[in-house]
Amino acid sequence: MVKEAEVPSTAQTPSQDQTKPAQRPGNLAVKCPKCKEMLIGRDWEKNLRVCSRCSYHFKLSAYERIELLVDPDSFVETDSDIISVDPLNFVSSSQAYATRLDEERESISLNEAVVSGHATIENLPLALAIMDFRFIGGSMGSVVGEKITRTIELGIEKHVPVLISSASGGARMQEGLYSLMQMAKTSAALAKLGEAELPFFSLLTDPTTGGVTASFAMLGDVILAEPGALICFAGPRVIEGSMHMKLPEGSVTSEFVLQHGMIDAVVHRRELRQTLAKLLRLYTGVDRSK
């Protein structure tokens, strides 16, 4: 059941200036994890944090991605004050879930693994939810499911398209069946959005796996992916384990799923904004009353 609980002290009250870009590395060098090239911070930023040599797309935080995609000052955040509680009193050998939540909120200055709201792209309105992998591996628990569902319901209410950007290691095990059920909850909301004849654009970023892939991420009317993202149901290690073989290089990435007919396009980060603008123009503004 939806329940509201006591507030832990480390929860972040939403600040006014959430769209301010993160500290820029400037002259500092950044090493590409894929091709090992040393990239100059300033150039790397200019290149939208994409390796200029091999096009490896570095992860972006939710706010960085929002700034990249939407019209300046158009983003209005919703439900930033919703936070996870610990419904199962979950404790593992590494850590207690409640402690993990406190630490994550403190160190990342983010309340959860998804930021939701509405904005415009080239003046066209949309509702959007952008996941952030830094918060417990972008795992989906009650709050991620709730915020994504509310974003979809906002789309229905405002009669605008919905964009969800995924970055996730899968369902959040610390919330047990509550997490699994978020797959059903979000998919059901999308089914309602579909009945309202509103489009859902799904953007897959590195990594998009497990219960997130097997629910809303793969239900886009249009599904886009950044190049080279890990996109799969089971992780590579699990696949290797079940098949007793080593996976070839480049398996279960964006290009793989495109080749196998599972997504619509692989889009370089520098083209994402204009691609979304085009999709918004194509899929809205149709007068069905005639």
């Binding site: 609980a5 069946l177 509550y178 699994l180 059903a184 059901a188 629910s215």
Partner: protein
């Protein structure tokens, strides 16, 4: 059936004693006869004691028991005229999913089940109840068919997980599951899911987005296999029992959390001790819920189902900042 699970040792010893005495038949002395009666009473009592207090992990062991009834057994015992349908009309036929129309108490329902397989040969044939994408697409096709003809959909769930192979990624395992979730959410017929054994994460949820979710008393429903959770959060699969406890995956725990609609009682010692009795309870529960759901209009069914899943989740809110000064 025997008592082979580790925590059933005291029961196994009592059973051994009982069998030893029973073998004597007519040659039983009066005091031995009394011993036999006491042993039988003691066995019932100890079984009740143990089974009314099963831990999450012990429940896992019963849910995975090699002699536990499978959906095919329940179909045989509670339905008539089951006709299995095959194929996804695109790629192939997945044998982990067994589905088709049947008569339940005179009315046609569409059954969608996962079947693990009893012996080695059957287990391989059914891929241990772990469906491929074509299995989920077969399920989707038959759910749409059920909607076309107005048949209620009944899912009997017993799977360790959806199969995680490379071919499954190629054929879109995640898309197949997601599509079933989407389809089931708006299906215009009454739908009921019963977890009879293992509710193995997304692979189980794919056929479980229903108006009612029921679980047999010693079944489990988990976001991830305990072994996988142990591997990630305890860094060792040997901690599967701890992971099971932490995730609270047993039917009883899920009922206590209000996450399921009904717990169906099993006979003393688990379903494998009495297939008939378990099947009778299952049938009664299905008929009861079907009767209730049939009272609802299609719109009411859809809204009830939407709200059921809409309301699952636990969260809090940040307090308003305290004024400084």
């Amino acid at each position: 059936m025997g008592y082979e699970l580790e925590f059933e040792k005291p029961l196994a010893e009592l059973e051994k004693k009982i069998i030893g005495l029973q073998r004597k038949g007519d040659r039983l002395r009066p005091d031995e006869h009394k011993q036999l009666q006491e042993a039988e009473r003691e066995l019932r009592h100890r079984t009740e004691e143990i089974y009314s207090n099963l831990s999450s992990w012990q429940t896992v062991l019963v849910a995975r028991h090699k002699d536990r009834p499978y959906p095919a057994d329940y179909i045989r015992l509670i339905c008539d005229d089951f006709f299995e349908l095959h194929g996804d009309r695109a790629f192939g036929d997945d044998h982990a999913i067994m589905a088709g129309p049947a008569k339940l108490d005179g009315d046609t329902v569409m059954l969608i089940c996962q079947q693990k397989g009893r012996d080695t040969k059957e287990r391989q044939f059914r891929n241990f109840g772990m469906p491929h994408p074509e299995g989920y697409r077969k399920a989707g096709r038959l759910m749409e068919q059920a909607e076309k003809f107005g048949f209620p959909v009944i899912s009997l769930i017993d799977t360790p997980a959806a199969f995680p192979g490379l071919g499954d990624e190629e054929r879109g395992q995640s898309e197949a599951i997601a599509s079933d979730l989407y389809l089931m959410a708006r299906l215009r017929v009454p739908t009921i899911a019963v977890v009879t054994g293992e509710g193995g994460s997304g692979g189980a949820l794919a056929i479980s987005v229903t108006n009612r979710i029921l679980m047999l008393e010693y079944s489990i429903y988990s976001v991830a296999p305990p072994e996988a959770a142990a591997s990630i959060l305890w860094r060792d699969t040997a901690f599967a029992p701890q992971a099971a406890e932490a995730m609270k995956i047993s039917a009883r725990e899920l009922q206590a959390l209000d996450l399921i609609d009904e717990l169906i009682p099993e006979p003393l010692g688990g379903a494998h001790h009495n297939y008939r009795s378990t099947a009778d309870h299952l049938k009664a529960a299905l008929l009861k819920h079907l009767a209730e759901l049939k009272q609802l209009s299609v719109e009411e069914l859809l809204e009830q189902r939407y709200q059921k899943f809409r309301n699952i989740g636990r969260f809090g809110r940040v307090q308003a900042p305290v004024a400084q000064g």
